[in-house]
């Protein structure tokens, strides 16, 4: 499962027990504690200096995860541990790059969507490529009454996404945008910042080479020997470790 072709530090992969479609028991436990888990020794100095250190201008080598990131837990403890703030960043674009459909990329979001909809926040699906299957969503705990499926012509998808994000009354906006470039993503990022919603953009894996203003970029690929491998390509607010990977067992 270690992908030798990628430069990176020694293995930081973690097995994650997914809320599995196949209902396999969460047998796999973390093989090793993730090196990047926020290690917080309750030092006396820290307590005294807490006010100073919380200042955004102060950066300390040890604090990899910036606590100020407002985030929605992903529902997967191992992924949360890797993400600053412990989840999907709120008010920011999260890009999910995938090679094919059917790699578990949407299942990644389901716990967060379930939590959001149960807190009575709207979730907008803008021009999804297939039919989001209601029984699967309901099974994952998503409150369907809060889910809105929006049909939009290709020319209108960006406008729609921006409106939904800017309005600030949607908890999450999921986009399958037909054409994406840096400028458009930047607009979405700004809209998400002003509205404070989670914004997910699904793009083909080939886009990984392009620069992106997204706060979080994940590449989802099939792992050798089954399962899903998630690579953290970019993550705002996270320092030090390059390209950690999480493997989701199917």
């Amino acid at each position: 499962m270690f992908d030798a072709s990628l430069p990176g530090p020694p293995e930081t992969s973690v097995f994650v027990a997914l809320p599995d479609p196949l209902r396999s028991t969460p047998a796999a436990l973390p093989a090793a504690a993730p090196r990047t888990a926020p290690s917080r020794a309750p030092l006396r100095d820290e307590a005294a200096l807490a006010g100073v250190l919380r200042h955004p201008g102060v950066w300390r080598r040890g604090a990899a995860a910036a606590a100020s990131v407002d985030a929605q837990p992903t529902g997967l403890a191992e992924l949360d541990a890797l993400l600053p703030g412990g989840g999907w960043p709120r008010g920011a674009v999260s890009e999910i790059l995938l090679e094919h459909d059917g790699l578990g990329e949407c299942r990644l979001l389901l716990p967060a969507l379930a939590a959001l909809t149960q807190a009575r926040q709207r979730v907008a699906l803008i021009a999804p490529p297939y039919v989001p299957y209601a029984p699967a969503l309901a099974e994952a705990g998503v409150d369907l009454a809060q889910l809105v499926h929006i049909d939009a012509q290709a020319a209108d998808t960006h406008w729609t996404a921006e409106q939904c994000l800017r309005a600030g009354c949607c908890g999450a906006v999921l986009n399958w945008l037909p054409e994406v470039d840096y400028r458009r993503l930047r607009r979405l990022q700004l809209a998400a910042e002003s509205g404070g919603a989670l914004c997910f953009v699904f793009r083909p894996a080939a886009a990984a080479r392009e620069a992106s203003p997204a706060a979080l970029r994940l590449r989802v690929a099939a792992a050798d020997g089954g399962g899903t491998r998630i690579e953290l390509l970019k993550c705002r607010g996270r320092l030090g470790v390059a390209t950690p990977r999480v493997r989701l067992r199917a």
């Binding site: 479609p21 196949l22 209902r23 090679e99 094919h100 459909d101 059917g102 790699l103 578990g104 990329e105 949407c106 299942r107 389901l110 909809t117 149960q118 807190a119 009575r120 926040q121 709207r122 999804p128 490529p129 297939y130 039919v131 989001p132 299957y133 209601a134 029984p135 699967a136 969503l137 309901a138 099974e139 409150d143 369907l144 009454a145 809060q146 889910l147 809105v148 499926h149 929006i150 049909d151 939009a152 012509q153 209108d156 406008w159 729609t160 409106q163 939904c164 800017r166 309005a167 600030g168 009354c169 949607c170 509205g195 404070g196 690929a221 099939a222 792992a223 089954g226 199917a250």
Partner: protein, 483 residues
């Protein structure tokens, strides 16, 4: 009771579009064609000596350039009605008294608007904005208020001073017939005080019962019955333009005016609009109508304007627009949205109904839909789209944060994506991860299916939901992705 009378003395002139503003001498005339009489003349004609009640021939002799139009009582009545709609915001009891007056009962509204001085300031401010000439008076009876509005603009008297204040009014302003006034003046009477001093029986014989009743009503000795004005159940306004409007941008201005008027109407009616129609009138082509439908009743002028404009922009203008009309027949009561008082998640600038309307206006009415589960074993029928209104109702009906969770049966695995149309799996699956799950049902509606569903992994590592015909092992058909 305390009645405010709003009198619009120049209404015959001002009801005729643009007649009042014209610089040229102009008059409104009335009467049979052979004996036209001046009803009202504008300032230019007045300067030339044209007076009310003059024969038209005499007026034209004084002012040869005088243009005359016959009086349009229907337009006056319509203007009064729309003024009544405006006044209805200040009181629940409004009465229209053609040809030129409006009565508003203000005793019940004074504490709400902060007393008569504040209410008067507000009335005057808004009336000034209309650009109509007006005068107003307040008295315990409507007839007395009318007299005061005619004689002393701005006078407000209470019940105690009523008779004394009326006594100072000259007979010409008393609202009695001109013939009676002339007769009384011939008898040497000058003010209402002189008239009130006369013995009642004598007076009745001289001026007749109707005039005496008028005097009694003025003093509150006889009851008054005013027809209470009711807001109309529907709204229709039409603006006509002197020239054709060919662009959407230019059309936005009259549209804004119409919508603002519409919103005022809705506020006065304490209702909302759920459906209204814009009609674009062209010179030759058939008029275009644009329906604007909303999910929930609204009455905010800005929101309605924005929606109407977006709908309008989706419609091409086949020809220059010469008239714009707004029509609304269905005006349901407005239920304001309830919000939690302590809602931590309130960062929003636009609430959900407003966003939904904006999206629908651009993407189409059916673009926003909810999803629902349907109790059916056939995968393609186990879900459906739901109209958004239904989805919102369901969301609103839900108490608290927890969705109703039926005791979950051991649900079989279902994929995130369902293909709208199953398609052939290009290559045989690499591995079978789970299955088969036989779904064999639907014999009752002739759409029966017998399928074995499997969770399979393709050679690319994708997890797919595929089926074969029951009992077979080839002919894989893809029906969903475990995305």
């Amino acid at each position: 009771m305390s009645w405010a009378c709003l009198r619009f003395p120049r209404l015959p002139l001002q009801a005729l579009a643009a007649a009042d503003a014209s610089e040229a001498p102009f008059a409104v005339v009335d009467g049979p064609p052979q004996r036209r009489r001046i009803v009202l003349a504008n300032a230019a004609a007045g300067a030339a000596g044209v007076r009310a009640d003059q024969p038209l021939a005499a007026a034209q002799a004084l002012c040869p350039a005088l243009a005359a139009l016959p009086r349009d009582t229907a337009a006056e009545r319509q203007a009064l009605d729309s003024l009544a709609g405006w006044a209805y915001r200040f009181s629940a009891e409004v009465a229209v008294a053609p040809p030129d007056a409006l009565f508003v009962e203000i005793a019940g509204s004074l504490s709400l608007f902060g007393g008569w001085p504040a209410l008067q300031r507000r009335l005057r401010g808004e009336l000034d904005a209309f650009g109509l000439a007006y005068s107003l008076g307040v008295a315990p009876t409507a007839a007395a208020a009318h007299v005061l509005a005619r004689h002393a603009d701005g006078a407000a008297i209470g019940a105690g001073q009523l008779v004394r204040a009326l006594g100072q009014v000259p007979l010409a302003a008393s609202g009695l017939d001109a013939a009676i006034v002339a007769m009384l003046r011939g008898m040497g009477l000058r003010t209402l005080h002189d008239l009130f001093a006369l013995p009642r029986a004598e007076l009745a014989r001289r001026i007749g019962a109707p005039a005496l009743l008028h005097l009694d009503r003025m003093r509150g000795l006889a009851g008054e019955a005013l027809p209470r004005w009711r807001p109309p159940p529907r709204f229709e306004r039409r603006l006509e333009f002197d020239f054709g409007i060919g662009t959407h941008e230019a059309l936005a201005f009259p549209l804004r005016r119409l919508v603002r008027e519409f919103a005022l109407f809705l506020v006065a009616r304490d209702g909302g609009a759920q459906r209204f129609t814009l009609v674009l009138g062209h010179e030759r082509e058939a008029s275009t109508s644009v329906d604007v439908g909303l999910l929930a009743p609204q009455r905010d002028a800005d929101a309605l304007f924005e929606l109407a404009r977006m709908r309008l922009e989706r419609v091409g203008l086949v020809a220059p627009v010469h008239a714009l009309a707004l029509r609304a027949d269905d005006l349901p009561p407005l239920c304001p949205l309830h919000r939690d008082l302590f809602d931590a998640q309130r960062r929003e600038r636009l609430d959900w109904p407003a966003l939904a309307e904006r999206l629908r206006a651009r993407l189409g009415d059916a673009a926003l839909r909810g999803l629902r589960c349907v109790a059916d074993h056939r995968p393609a029928r186990a879900w459906r789209f739901a109209a958004l209104a239904e989805a919102d109702a369901a969301a609103a009906a839900k108490p608290g944060a927890s969705p109703p969770r039926a005791a979950p049966p051991p649900a079989p695995t279902r994929p995130f994506w369902l293909l709208p149309r199953p398609r052939v799996l290009p290559a045989a699956p690499a591995r079978i991860l789970a299955g088969p799950e036989r779904i064999e049902t639907g014999w009752w509606d002739e759409r029966d299916q017998q399928r074995d569903y499997y969770v399979v992994e393709t050679r690319a590592g994708q997890r797919a939901w595929a089926f074969v015909r029951a009992g077979e092992t080839s002919g894989w058909t893809l029906h969903g992705w475990f995305a």
